[in-house]
Structure formats: C-alpha cells, structure tokens
C-alpha cells in the first residue's frame, strides 16, 4: 500500500504547489496597517518569498523590541515562517501559545489551521482532524480551500469516507481546488463501492480542459483510477472508456496501457490485448507495469494458443529479468559501498551538493536510472528537503564566517582608536574643565554685578584710563599728607580738575561699556552651554566605551565559536541525511529486486508447465495469468 501513501503525499505536494502562489498574498493575512517601520521591513521580504531573510529580521527586531504594535501579527508570522522552513516543533509551539481564549477568534482560527497543517505533515492525522475542526467560521478564501482539502485528505486516510464525501460535496472554492476535491471524492466513493457516483465525479475530472501540467496530470490520474475501479468491479467494457483518455506520453500511460490490456483480456479479446501490452513491453523495464507486460504478452499468446511464441516471450522475459537483477545488484553494491559517493564528492566540496544531484548527470551509470523511481517517495522528498535546507544554512554560516573576520578587524581598529584617545578624554573629563569655566563665568558675572551696583566706573575703563586713575589716586594719597599751602592747594585743584575730567569720561562711557560686557557675558553663556552639552555627550560616550568594545569582542568570540560548532554539526547532519537517503535508495532497489523475483518465478512456472505438457503430448493447459490480472 506504499504506493497509495506516496501518491497521497504527492497530492499534498501538488496542493501545496497550487497554494504556493497564494501563500504570500496579503489576502491571507488580515489587512494590517503597518505601525512599526521594522515590521514593514519584515513584510517587504516576506512578500518577496524571502522567508529566511524575513525570519532573521523578525527575530532581530523582536530582540530589539522594535515591534510594539504588532505583537500578535509577529507571533503568527513567526509561526508561519518557522513552518515554511520545516521547523515544525517551533511553529507548533508558537501557534499553541496563540490559542488562549482572550485572543480574537480570527487569530485562533489561523493558529488552529497552521497546527492542523503541521500535524498532517508529521503524520498525526487524528490530531490534524481535531485541530482543523477547531476552526470556527471561515478563513480567507485560499486558506479555507486549503483547510477543506487537508481535512478531507485526513478523513480519507483515516477511513472516514462518509464524512469526507459530505465535506467535499459542500466544497465551493476556486476551480483548481474544485478539481482536486472532486478527485478525492471520486476515490472515496470508489472505496464505498458507489461506482455510479464515483463515475460522475471522476469523469468530471477526467474530462477537464486545461493546459497546466498539474491539472493534466490530475486528469490522467482520475481516468486511471476510474478505469481500474471498473476493472476491479468486473466491468471491463466500462473500464476501457476512461483508460483510453489517459495521455500516451504522460506519467500514467504505462499503467493505463496495462489496464487496457486487462480490459480487453477480460472481454476475451486477447488479440486486442496484445496491442497495448506489446507497446508497453517496448518501454523501460524500470516500470513495474512494463515488467508485468513481459509476462502479460506471453500469457495472451498462450490464450491465443500460440504456444511457441508464448514460450519465446517467457524465455525472453527471463533473460531480461536476469539482466535487470544483475544491474540492480550492481547498483545496490555501488551505493552501499559508498564508492559512488566518494567519486562524486571528490573535489566538489565547494558546491555543497549531494550525490543524488550528481547522479542525474551521469546517464551512463547504471544506478542513475533507478533514481527517478526512488525520488518519488515521500520520505525521500522530505529527506531531500532537509538536505537542501542544511546546505543552504551551511552557506549562510560560511558567509557569516567571512564577515566575522571583518567584524573582528573592525573591533580591533576601534579598540586601538579608543586606546589612543581615551587617555586624552579621561584627562579632559577629569580636569572638570567645564565646571571650572562655569565657576569663572559665575565669578565674572558676580564681579560685573558688583561693579554695576557700586557704579565703579573706573573698573570698566580702558587700560590708559585706569592707569591715569591709579596715578590720580596715588597723587591724592600723596597730597593728603601734604601741607595746606597755596602751591599744594593749587596742585590739589588741578588734580581735582583732571580727576573730574577723567571721571566725566568714565561715567559717560560706563553705560555703553556695561552693555558691552553684558553682551559678552551672554555670548559666553551660549558657548558654555554648548560646551556643557558636548561635555555630557563625550562623557556618555566615554562611559559606554569599555562596555562596548569589550562586549563586542566577547560577543563576536562567542558567535565565532557557535559558527564553528554549527558548521561541524551541519556537516554531520548532512552526512546523516546522505546516509539516510542512501538507505532509502537501497531499500527501493531491493523492493524492485523482490518484485522481479516474483515475476521470475511466475515466468519459470508458466514455462515449465508449458514444456511439461508439450513433452507429455498433452495440450498445453491454460497458462496461469500473471500476478496483476484481476480475478
């Protein structure tokens, strides 16, 4: 039943592909007004499908608390981004946190929806169903369609057919989704043995008109499903109709050809059956349908009583199978020995691409043929995605590693620059120069005030005036002790006159000078104020310096260690992934071998029976039909 699981997962992948275009459409997100510029920046990258960049920035801006207006939006977006990068656990945690009752219903709906997606992807279908059922009301259009599909798929896979059918019947969404819905419903109806209803659904899909490859593939699958359903229900004539609609050059044509042959065979027309089977037999033996045809063709010949031809074809089948077995053995051997890996990885360290990439470039290598088969598997796809993510992450780390070197240089330069200037700065700051200047200014202001109050006109005089005034004072003092005779009195008078004149001059100029000094004081105040502001800034910068550079250096060192450690872990993880993929590949090839063994046995048996009867003269009995024939 593995094939069904694989196919269902391919369906999911196809669904995801259809939804991809709509994924980063703001229709999906409730219309928001960007209130924090940084949140807008995250969206700018998100809308361009740069999920990793968006995630990095979102986390960084959260770290700096720069998204105060977008708490809920951030959490939802973060969850979605984690999801898209395969970090299911993280995403799950975020969404679960958003399920508190005090949050708006719209938010909780989206959280449930995402959680449903996560559970589904991890294979916890019941949980997925529960989660999706928690969504109340309607999500935006595309998400609603996606939700319905997920739920229907989960219900189908858990065997709840009726519910699934009811859900799909009520589905009313975009046309692409509608086709998928009908397909799933048709399949569910087949399971319920309701062939008529199944027919109408599957035929609707089987006759759709489109140019898109996904849609055409779906159409083929619908026809194939219907055809085989009818074969199972023993209605070969009805089976032919859809089977003939399957494209001859599509992925499903092999199975369709096989089915057509069986339909004809069931109707008893083995000659007609030979046509599709022979066509099939000419195709690549990799395909199981083709392998079956190797037995179906001789079977038909047997039925047509052309025993010699039948025998020939059986023999030929055996030869081909043996050759194929050998090739498979060789391929398995090469994969297991790791030789292939070695050769491919040699000298290719730079490009970080794994062995499976390379293999497809070597058409001559036998094992590369099988890889197409292997790659369809869900586990392989998952493993591949992980591997791709790991290599991508590795390359980002490498880029950072280079940058880290530059950062280190920058920090060093800065440290040295600081080391040079810090002593100066410290000295300056310690000198308290600004405070001293302030004091001096205050002193001066006080002196000026006192001069003004005392009207000490002489204090504001020019040097010459002050010198004169001094002289006059000295003379006054000298004269004070002199006798009061005419000569001395005359001197005193003259002195009084001179003093008077000078005094008059000083008084005259006093106001103007006073005003001048006031203005100068004002200018000084401005300059001082400016100086004080700068002082504060330098002081602040100085205080943050030791923590800055030391802290930066420490952080950088820690980050460098983490980079190296993670690079090592990544390398280890890449190896594990490769080994895992290797395991899958070998398992697939082993399965193929087993299948061939079965066919081989059948062929041998049929051949032996024919020879026995021929030898004993009895008519050759009806050969046993090959394993795949409907009973």
């Amino acid at each position: 039943m593995r094939v069904l699981r694989q196919l269902s997962c391919v369906l999911l992948a196809a669904l995801a592909g259809v939804a991809q275009a709509a994924q980063h459409d703001p229709e999906k997100l409730a219309p928001i007004r960007v209130q924090d510029l940084q949140y807008g920046d995250v969206l700018f990258h998100y809308y361009q499908q740069d999920d990793f960049e968006a995630l990095t920035r979102l986390l960084a801006y959260q770290h700096w608390n720069q998204l105060p207006h977008h708490e809920l939006d951030s959490q939802l977006l973060l969850g979605g981004l984690y999801l898209s990068l395969g970090l299911y656990n993280e995403a799950g945690e975020r969404f679960t946190k958003l399920l508190t009752p005090d949050l708006p219903q719209g938010v909780r709906n989206r959280a449930w929806f995402y959680l449903g997606q996560i559970w589904y992807a991890r294979g916890y279908l019941d949980k997925a169903i529960d989660a999706l059922r928690q969504v109340q009301g309607h999500l935006p259009l595309q998400q609603e369609a996606q939700k319905t599909h997920l739920l229907a798929n989960a219900l189908l896979r858990q065997g709840h057919f009726d519910e699934a059918i009811a859900l799909l019947r009520s589905f009313n969404g975009p046309p692409d989704w509608l086709a998928f819905a009908q397909f799933n419903m048709g399949v569910a109806l087949v399971r319920q043995q309701k062939m008529d209803e199944a027919d109408s659904s599957l035929t609707a899909v089987g006759t759709l008109v489109s140019t898109q490859p996904e849609m055409l593939a779906l159409r083929d699958r619908a026809n194939l499903a219907l055809g085989f359903a009818y074969l199972q229900a023993n209605e070969p004539a009805k089976a032919r109709v859809p089977l003939e609609r399957v494209r001859l050059n599509g992925a499903y044509s092999n199975k369709a050809l096989l089915g057509l042959g069986w339909a004809d065979a069931a109707l008893g027309d083995y000659q007609a059956a030979l046509a599709p089977w022979t066509e099939l037999r000419n195709r690549s033996l990799l395909d199981s349908a083709v392998q079956e045809s190797y037995l179906a063709v001789p079977y038909a010949y047997g039925k047509l009583e052309s025993n010699s031809q039948a025998a020939e074809y059986y023999e030929s089948a055996l030869t081909s199978f043996a050759a194929e077995q050998k090739a498979l053995d060789g391929a398995i051997g090469r994969i297991q020995s790791g030789k292939m890996l070695e050769e491919l990885l040699a000298g290719d360290e730079q490009t970080h691409y794994g062995w499976f990439w390379q293999l497809r470039n070597l058409p001559d290598e036998p094992e590369s043929r099988y890889l197409y088969a292997i790659m369809a598997g869900h586990d392989f796809q998952e493993g591949l995605k992980n591997y791709r993510d790991l290599t991508f992450l590795g390359s980002t780390l490498d880029a950072w590693s280079d940058s880290a070197q530059t950062f280190g240089d920058m920090i060093d330069t800065r440290e040295r620059a600081y080391a040079q200037r810090l002593p100066q700065v410290d000295q300056l700051l310690a000198s308290g120069a600004v405070d001293q200047l302030q004091h001096r200014r205050d002193d001066l202001a006080a002196r000026l005030t006192s001069i003004e109050t005392r009207e000490d006109v002489a204090a504001l005089g020019s040097p010459a005036e002050r010198a004169h005034w001094e002289q006059i004072r000295k003379l006054e003092d000298a004269l004070a002790n002199a006798p009061h005779d005419d000569a001395t009195n005359a001197l005193r008078d003259r002195l009084r006159l001179v003093k008077g004149v000078l005094f008059y001059q000083l008084v005259d100029a006093f106001k103007a000078r006073q005003w001048q000094e006031q203005r100068t004081l004002k200018d000084l105040d401005l300059a001082l104020h400016e100086a004080q502001s700068r002082w504060i800034r330098v002081d602040r910068a100085r205080r943050s310096v030791p923590t800055n550079t030391g802290e930066f250096a420490a952080r950088l060192a820690a980050l460098k260690t983490r980079i190296t450690e993670l690079q090592a872990r990544l390398a280890g993880a890449e190896k594990s992934q490769q080994a895992y993929l290797q395991q899958i590949a070998v398992a697939e090839l082993s399965d193929q071998k087993d299948r061939l063994d079965t066919y081989e046995v059948q062929a041998r048996f049929a051949l032996a029976t024919m020879y026995d009867k021929a030898a004993s003269g009895q008519p050759a009995p009806k050969p046993a039909p090959p394993p795949g024939a409907p009973q």
Partner: protein, 173 residues
C-alpha cells in the same frame, strides 16, 4: 620588528620580489570569480524594467558581456538566444550586459536584433568591473546557489557543445 633599512640585501630582494608577484597576481587576468558567490547587482534593461541578480536565486543564470562593435559577440548572442528558447522552462535566466561606451550604439543594435532574453545597460561599467571583464565576449554561468561555475572568455564554434552540456548539468541540479 626590524626596520626595512636593517634588512640584508637578499632579504630586501625577496621582499621586493614577493611584493611584485603579489601585485602581478592582483592584476592577473584570471577568472578569480570561479567558485565564488556571483556579485549582486541591479541594472536597467533596455525595455525599461529593472533586474536584480539575487532575485533569480534558485534558478540558473547566464550573463554575457558584449559590445555592439564586436563581431564574435553577435554570433554568440544568437547561440545563447537559441539555448534560452530551449531551456527557459527548466529555470534558466539569461541577461546580456552591454559594455558599449556609446549607449546609443547598443540601443540601436538591440532594436535591430531583438533577442528573447533581457539586455541590460551598464553605463557606469560598474558590473563589468565587478565581474572583472577584460575581454569580449565573456559569458558567466551561475548555478542555482548563486555560485559562479563557469566563465567563457572567448567564443569559438567548439564552445557551443561544451556550453550546452555544462548548462544542462547546472539545470539538472
């Protein structure tokens, strides 16, 4: 550390020689971009839209530097055009960057010989410098991870087969 003057003659010669070699290597014409991340850039196309290289991450990109006066360039452009038509749907982007001194010439050529892929103008020759273009035509092949994988500095008839096979390899990744 000793000052230079104190070094002996042989030491000085060696130092000088090393310095010369380093200088020469710095100017050496070699595809130093091989294996490195392709430098990102944004240019205007002649048709009006702008193109940024990093947006094509995940696809294979071919950038060819050409001049309207170079005859070999024209042949190569035609060849590249054919490959573009074939492989476009497999995820191939192709750009022609004109390094004409005279933008008008380039424009004339482009209108006269329309090609399916976008032609970009690099008036300041910034991108040509980034990609160390010293010969025309030069074609650069960039893989899906943005790494320069092949650089063709000459074009001859033999090169088409090699180019196509290498292109297919990259597309299969």
């Amino acid at each position: 550390m000793k000052s230079f003057r104190v070094w002996s003659l042989p030491q000085r010669c060696i130092a000088a020689a090393t310095l010369t070699i380093l200088c020469l290597t710095a100017f050496a014409q070699g595809p130093a971009l091989l294996g490195q991340s392709a430098p990102d850039f944004a240019l205007r196309s002649f048709s009006g839209t702008n193109v940024r290289l990093s947006e094509d991450r995940g696809d294979v990109v071919v950038i060819t530097f050409w001049g309207s006066q170079c005859g070999v360039c024209r042949k190569q452009l035609d060849m590249l055009d054919r490959s573009f038509a074939t492989y476009r749907s497999a995820g191939l982007h192709m750009y022609g960057v004109s390094v004409d001194d005279d933008a008008a010439h380039a424009r004339q050529y482009v209108s006269a010989h329309p090609l399916a892929f976008a032609m970009l103008e690099d008036p300041a020759k910034e991108v040509a410098r980034l990609y160390q273009i010293d010969n025309l035509p030069t074609t650069v092949l960039i893989d899906r991870g943005g790494i320069v994988r092949h650089v063709y500095r000459d074009f001859g008839p033999r090169d088409e087969a090699l180019y196509l096979s290498q292109l297919r390899e990259l597309l299969n990744e």
